[in-house]
C-alpha cells in the first residue's frame, strides 16, 4: 500500500485531447481502455490515430472489465531512485488487463508490498489523492 | 532615460543557479566596477564572449585585462511594447563596440531612445542593482 508524504506535490497526469477521455473516466472512478471500433484492437497508452487503420475518428474509449493479473512489479527500498512524495518502501506493479493492455499502478491498501507476486489476480480500484487528482490502484481479486 | 525595471527579478543565470565558469571572472570584475576582457595568454587574441579555449591557438590559459570602457554604439533597438515582465516599455538596448574590439549588449543611462545613433562615442557606467547583481551600462562620452 502506498502512503504519501504530506507537503510534496504528486505529479498530475499530462492531459491533452488524445487522453482526456481516459483521465476523465478515472476521475469518475471508471476505468476505460482505448479501442479502435474498426479493427477492434485495444491500445495503451491512448493515441490519436489507429496504427492499423490509420484513422482518427475510429478511436473510442470502452469500459474495461478492470480485471487483470500482476505481470511485473518493483519495490522502492531506498529513496535514492524513488519519488519523494511516497513513503519508502512502496511498490509499483505492471498489470496485464484481460483486454491485453498493460497498466502501471500502485497496490491498493489491501495488498501489502511483500505480498505481491507475478501472476497475482487483481482488480482495479480508485484512490482519491486530493480534490483534483484521483488515481487507479489494484486490489486483490479472487480468481 | 535609462531602462526602467518592474518589481520582478531581472533575468540573470545566477538567479537560476547556473554558472558559466568561463564568464565568472568577467562578472566578478563587474562587481568591482571593472570591465575585464578575456585575452589568450599564448597568442594574445581578445575573446568575447569568454570561452574555455582560444580558437586561435587552442591554449586553455587565459588572462583578463581591464578594458578602458570607451567605445562606440555599433547598433541598437527599441522595444515599443515590453516583451518581458521585468522591464518597462519603451526601452532601448544597445550594442557597444569597445575600443579593444569586443561588442557588448548593454543599456544607455543618459540618452533617450530616439537620440541613440550608431557611431555615438560612449563610456562605461556601472549600475549596482542589488548585492548580487551589478550591470555595466554606458553613458555618452566626451
Amino acid at each position: 500500500m502506498v502512503e504519501y508524504v504530506p507537503g510534496i506535490p504528486i505529479l498530475k497526469p499530462y492531459i491533452d485531447a488524445d487522453n482526456k477521455a481516459y483521465w476523465d473516466a478515472v476521475k469518475e472512478e471508471k476505468f476505460v481502455v482505448q479501442q479502435c471500433n474498426k479493427c477492434k484492437n485495444y491500445y495503451q497508452p491512448p493515441r490519436p490515430m489507429c496504427p492499423e487503420c490509420l484513422t482518427l475518428d475510429t478511436m473510442e474509449f470502452v469500459p474495461s472489465t478492470g480485471k487483470g493479473e500482476v505481470y511485473s512489479y518493483i519495490i522502492y527500498t531506498t529513496d535514492k531512485m524513488a519519488y519523494p512524495a511516497m513513503k519508502i518502501p512502496y511498490a509499483v506493479m505492471v498489470v496485464e488487463m484481460e483486454e491485453g493492455v498493460r497498466i502501471t499502478a500502485n497496490n491498493a491498501p489491501d495488498i501489502d508490498t511483500d505480498e505481491i507476486y507475478i501472476g497475482m489476480p487483481v482488480e482495479v480500484t480508485f484512490a482519491k489523492i486530493d480534490d483534483d487528482l484521483t488515481l487507479y490502484q489494484f486490489k486483490k481479486r479472487k480468481s | 532615460m535609462t531602462i526602467q525595471y518592474t518589481d520582478k527579478p531581472i533575468p540573470h543565470p545566477a538567479l537560476w543557479g547556473i554558472i558559466y565558469r568561463s564568464s565568472t571572472p568577467f562578472w566578478e570584475g563587474i562587481k568591482e566596477k571593472k570591465l575585464l576582457i578575456q585575452k589568450c595568454k599564448d597568442c594574445g587574441k581578445i575573446l568575447h564572449p569568454p570561452r574555455p579555449m582560444c580558437p586561435g591557438c587552442h591554449s586553455t590559459e587565459c588572462e583578463h585585462i581591464e578594458a578602458s570602457g570607451k567605445g562606440t554604439i555599433y547598433s541598437y533597438t527599441t522595444y515599443s511594447k515590453s516583451p518581458h515582465k521585468s522591464f518597462k516599455a519603451p526601452y532601448s538596448v544597445v550594442l557597444v563596440e569597445l575600443d579593444e574590439g569586443p561588442r557588448l549588449i548593454s543599456n544607455m543611462v543618459d540618452v533617450k531612445p530616439e537620440d541613440i545613433e550608431i557611431g555615438m562615442p560612449v563610456e562605461v557606467a556601472f549600475d549596482k542593482i542589488d548585492d548580487d547583481l551589478t550591470l555595466y551600462k554606458f553613458k555618452k562620452a566626451g
Binding site: L11, N19, W23, Y76, T77, M81 | P55
Partner: protein, 413 residues
C-alpha cells in the same frame, strides 16, 4: 512462453521488412574510427561541460594526428549541454559542414557513429567528431526522480502521465520491471546477476582510468549490499560521472595515412521497435527481452555480414547490470533466456572467456559517459592497447542503451 514469442515475433517481423541491400551500403569497410580521447573521469569536475568537451575533442584530434581545423562535423546527444555554435567558436572550426544530434539518451551511443559514418561516406564532411560531455555527478542527474518534484506539477510528457503520478519515475525502476519479468520467465537468480558487477569491477581494478580503479568487490560484497529498487542493488547501478569522451570518424582511405591503426566500421544499425517508449516499454508482446538491442544488433550483423558467434569482444551498454546481461542474449552470444547461467561464475565474460565483455569496467565500474567510454574501449581492444587486452581480437560488438530506440555497431581492426 516468452522464448517462443521473442523468437517467432522478432524474426518474422524483422525478416519481412524490405531493407536497403548490403551491396548498396557505403559505410561497411569504407569508414573508420581514427581517434579517441577522454578527460579524467571524476565525481566532481568543477569544470563547465563545454570546457571538458573541448578537451576530449582536442585529445581525439591529437590521437588521430589531425588539426582541430580539419574537423568539419559534430555529432552529439540532444541531452548534451554544449551547443554547436559555441563549440565552433571555442575550437575555431573554420569550415563546419555538418552538426546534428541523436535523441533518446544512451540509445544514441552508436547511432552518433552511424550518422557520422553516413556523412563522411557520402562526402558531406571529411572528419566528424562524436562527443559527449556531462557533469552527471556534480550537476544534472538524468536518472534521479527527485528533480521533477522541485519544478513541475504535471508529468513532462503524456507517457510519463501513466507512470509519474504512481511514483514510477526513474530509469532504474523502469528497467527493474522488465528485468524482473525476464528473471521470472527464465528463472534467473539474484546470485547469478551478481557476477556481471563482480567481473566488471575486476576489469576496472586493472584500468587506471576507471573510477573504481582501486576498490575491489567480491560476489559476497555484492550479495550483502543494499537493494536500491528490488530486484536491483547499489552495485547494479552505473556510476554517475563528470567527464567527456570523443571519437573521430572519417573515410577508410583518409584513415590509412593517419597516426593510429584504423578501426573500421563493418556494420552499424539503429532501431526503434513497436510500442516504443523511454524505458516504460510494457505494452509489447513480451517484456522479457530487449527488442531494441535485438533489432539494432541484427541490423549491424546484416550489414556487416557476420553473426554473434564471430564476435571476439563486446562492449554492452549497462546503465544497470540487467541491461548488459540481457544484451548478451540479444546479440546471440548465448541462448535466449540463458544469460544467467552464461555469466554464472564469471568465466565466460572474463578476458579469456567465451565472450569478454565490458573490458574497461563498463558503465558500472569505469565511468558512465552514456556509452562513449565503451566505444573508446572497443577501439582500444582492436588497436591492442586495452588495459585488459583480449588476445588479438578481430571483431568487437558495441551496443547502446536498452529500453529506448537504440543502436549497435560491429567494429573490426
Amino acid at each position: 512462453m516468452a522464448r517462443k514469442i521473442l523468437e517467432e515475433y522478432m524474426n518474422r517481423k524483422y525478416d519481412a521488412d524490405i531493407k536497403p541491400k548490403p551491396a548498396l551500403n557505403m559505410i561497411k569497410d569504407k569508414t573508420a574510427i581514427v581517434g579517441i580521447g577522454e578527460t579524467k573521469f571524476t565525481r566532481g569536475s568543477g569544470r563547465d561541460e563545454m570546457d571538458m568537451a573541448c578537451e576530449a575533442i582536442k585529445k581525439a584530434a591529437d590521437d588521430a594526428g589531425i588539426k582541430l581545423e580539419d574537423i568539419d562535423g559534430l555529432e552529439t546527444f540532444t541531452l548534451d549541454r554544449t551547443a554547436m555554435p559555441f563549440i565552433v567558436s571555442t575550437l575555431g572550426l573554420k569550415n563546419l559542414r555538418f552538426a546534428s544530434e541523436v535523441s533518446f539518451g544512451g540509445g544514441a551511443a552508436c547511432a552518433v557513429t552511424l550518422h557520422a559514418a553516413a556523412i563522411v561516406a557520402t562526402g558531406v564532411a571529411k572528419n566528424v567528431v562524436c562527443y559527449r560531455s556531462l557533469n552527471e555527478s556534480s550537476g544534472h542527474k538524468f536518472g534521479r526522480g527527485d528533480g521533477y518534484a522541485k519544478y513541475m506539477l504535471t508529468a513532462p510528457t503524456p507517457h510519463y502521465g501513466y507512470t509519474f503520478p504512481m511514483g514510477f519515475c526513474t530509469p532504474l525502476s523502469w528497467a527493474g520491471a522488465w528485468g524482473r519479468r525476464w528473471m521470472h520467465e527464465f528463472n534467473v537468480s539474484y546470485e547469478q546477476i551478481g557476477w556481471w558487477a563482480v567481473v566488471l569491477r575486476e576489469y576496472a581494478n586493472k584500468n587506471p582510468l576507471a573510477l573504481f580503479h582501486n576498490k575491489p568487490m567480491t560476489h559476497e560484497d555484492y550479495m550483502n549490499v543494499q537493494m536500491i529498487v528490488e530486484p536491483l542493488r547499489l552495485f547494479d547501478c552505473c556510476v554517475d560521472t563528470d567527464g567527456a569522451c570523443a571519437h573521430i570518424v572519417t573515410t577508410a582511405e583518409r584513415a590509412k595515412d593517419l597516426k593510429q591503426k584504423p578501426v573500421y566500421i563493418l556494420g552499424a544499425g539503429q532501431s526503434a521497435p513497436i510500442e516504443q517508449e523511454i524505458q516504460t516499454v510494457y505494452n509489447r508482446p513480451t517484456i522479457a527481452g530487449l527488442f531494441e538491442t535485438w533489432y539494432a544488433a541484427h541490423e549491424a550483423y546484416r550489414v556487416a555480414g557476420v553473426e554473434g558467434k564471430d564476435i571476439d569482444v563486446a562492449e554492452l551498454y549497462d546503465p544497470y547490470s540487467l541491461g548488459g546481461i540481457m544484451s548478451l542474449e540479444e546479440c546471440d552470444f548465448c541462448e535466449r533466456g540463458d544469460a544467467g547461467n552464461f555469466i554464472e561464475g564469471g568465466d565466460n565474460i572474463r578476458v579469456d572467456g567465451k565472450m569478454p565483455t565490458n573490458t574497461s569496467g563498463g558503465l558500472l565500474s569505469e565511468a558512465y559517459i552514456h556509452g562513449f567510454n565503451l566505444v573508446n574501449e572497443g577501439v582500444r581492444q582492436l588497436r591492442g592497447t586495452s588495459y585488459n587486452q583480449v588476445k588479438d581480437p578481430e571483431l568487437c560488438m558495441v551496443t547502446a542503451g536498452p529500453g529506448v530506440p537504440s543502436s549497435a555497431m560491429v567494429l573490426r581492426n
